[in-house]
C-alpha cells in the first residue's frame, strides 16, 4: 500500500499538467480561465492526499484555503477578460449589459 | 526533505529565466512578473538550505520567507500603482519608449 498515495499524487499532477495543455493552447479565453477550475479541483485532491501521506494535518486547511480562492480567481478572470478587448475598439465606458 | 539538489537546480533555473526576461522584456507588467519569479527562486533556496541541517524544515527560515512573501506583494502593489500612473501620464508601458518607436 505504500506506493498508492505517492502514486496517486503523481498521477493527479500529471493530470493537472495535461489539462494545462488546454489552458496553454486556448483557443478561447474561456479555455484559459478554466485553469482556475482545474486547479481548484485537482490541487485540492493533491493536498488532501499529501496530508494523508506526510501526516501533516494542516495541509487539509491549505486545501480548504485553495478551494475558497479558486472562486475568487475565477471571478477575477471573468471580470477582467470580459472587458479586455473592448477598450480599443468600442466605448471604454461600456457598462455590463 | 529527500532531494535538495533538485530544488536548488529548479531555483537556479527560475532565477535565470526571471533575469533573462527582466532584461529583454519591455512591458513593465512582464518585468514585474519576472521580479516576482526571481524572488520565488530566492525563497526556494532559503527554505531548502535551511532544511538541510537537520532534515526537517527550519522555523526561522520559514518565518523569514513568510515575511518576504508579504513584503513582495506590498512592493508589487506599489510598483503596479507606479506603472498605471506612468501609463496615464506618458501613455507608455515601458521604461524606454524611445526604443519602441525607433525601429
Amino acid at each position: 500500500m505504500n506506493w498508492l498515495l505517492p502514486g496517486l499524487i503523481l498521477f493527479l499532477l500529471v493530470n493537472l499538467l495535461a489539462g494545462l495543455w488546454r489552458v496553454w493552447r486556448g483557443p478561447s479565453s474561456a479555455d484559459r480561465m478554466m485553469s482556475a477550475l482545474l486547479f481548484g479541483s485537482t490541487s485540492v485532491a493533491v493536498l488532501i492526499l499529501m496530508a494523508e501521506w506526510q501526516g501533516i494535518r494542516a495541509l487539509r486547511h491549505v486545501a480548504l484555503l485553495v478551494v475558497m480562492l479558486a472562486a475568487i480567481i475565477a471571478i477575477t478572470y471573468v471580470g477582467i477578460s470580459g472587458a479586455r478587448d473592448k477598450g480599443s475598439e468600442t466605448n471604454p465606458d461600456r457598462k455590463a449589459p | 526533505m529527500n532531494h535538495p539538489e533538485i530544488w536548488m537546480l529548479a531555483a537556479a533555473g527560475l532565477f535565470g529565466l526571471g533575469l533573462y526576461s527582466l532584461i529583454i522584456a519591455r512591458h513593465l507588467l512582464r518585468q514585474l512578473i519576472a521580479i516576482k519569479i526571481m524572488g520565488s527562486a530566492v525563497f526556494l533556496v532559503l527554505v531548502v538550505t535551511a532544511g538541510l541541517v537537520d532534515g526537517s524544515l527550519d522555523g526561522i527560515a520559514q518565518a523569514l520567507v513568510l515575511t518576504g512573501i508579504v513584503i513582495a506583494v506590498a512592493a508589487i502593489a506599489f510598483a503596479l500603482a507606479l506603472v498605471v500612473s506612468l501609463a496615464e501620464t506618458t501613455g507608455s508601458i515601458s521604461l524606454n519608449p524611445d526604443d519602441d518607436d525607433g525601429r
Binding site: 500500500m1 498508492l4 498515495l5 496517486l8 498521477f11 493527479l12 493530470n15 495535461a18 489539462g19 495543455w21 488546454r22 486556448g26 483557443p27 478561447s28 479565453s29 474561456a30 479555455d31 484559459r32 480561465m33 478554466m34 482556475a36 477550475l37 482545474l38 481548484g40 479541483s41 485537482t42 485540492v44 485532491a45 488532501i48 492526499l49 496530508a51 494523508e52 494535518r57 487539509r60 486547511h61 486545501a63 480548504l64 478551494v67 475558497m68 479558486a70 472562486a71 475565477a74 471571478i75 478572470y77 471573468v78 477578460s81 470580459g82 478587448d85 | -
Partner: protein
C-alpha cells in the same frame, strides 16, 4: 476488518483518480469550450468526492471527515459559480465577435 476498510478506501481513491482522468481527457479532446467546461467541472467534482471519502476512511476521524466534507461542498459551490460565469462569458464573447466565435485574438 481493518484490511477490508483499507482496501475500500484505496478503491475509492482509485475511482476518484479515474474520474480526474476522465475530466482531463474531456478537457483535451472535446471540440468546444462549453463541452470542455462541462467535462472538467462534473467529472472532477465527483472525483474529489471519491478522494475525500477515501481519505476520510483512511484517517478514521470524525473531525477530519467533516473538514473534508466542508472542502468538498465548497469545491462544488465554487466550481458551480465559476463554471457558470465562464460559460456566460464564453457565450458573450462568441456573440460579440460574430463569425469568429471562440477565437482568441492573442
Amino acid at each position: 476488518m481493518s484490511l477490508l476498510l483499507d482496501a475500500f478506501a484505496a478503491l475509492l481513491l482509485l475511482i476518484g483518480a479515474f474520474f480526474y482522468l476522465a475530466g482531463t481527457v474531456g478537457l483535451i479532446r472535446f471540440p468546444d469550450a462549453l463541452s470542455r467546461l462541462h467535462a472538467l467541472t462534473k467529472a472532477d467534482n465527483i472525483g474529489l468526492l471519491s478522494i475525500c471519502a477515501g481519505s476520510a476512511l483512511m484517517a478514521g476521524e470524525l473531525r477530519v471527515a467533516l473538514l473534508l466534507l466542508l472542502i468538498w461542498l465548497m469545491a462544488l459551490f465554487a466550481a458551480t459559480v465559476s463554471a457558470h460565469l465562464i460559460a456566460r462569458r464564453s457565450l458573450r464573447d462568441a456573440e460579440d465577435s460574430g463569425a469568429d466565435a471562440g477565437k482568441s485574438p492573442s
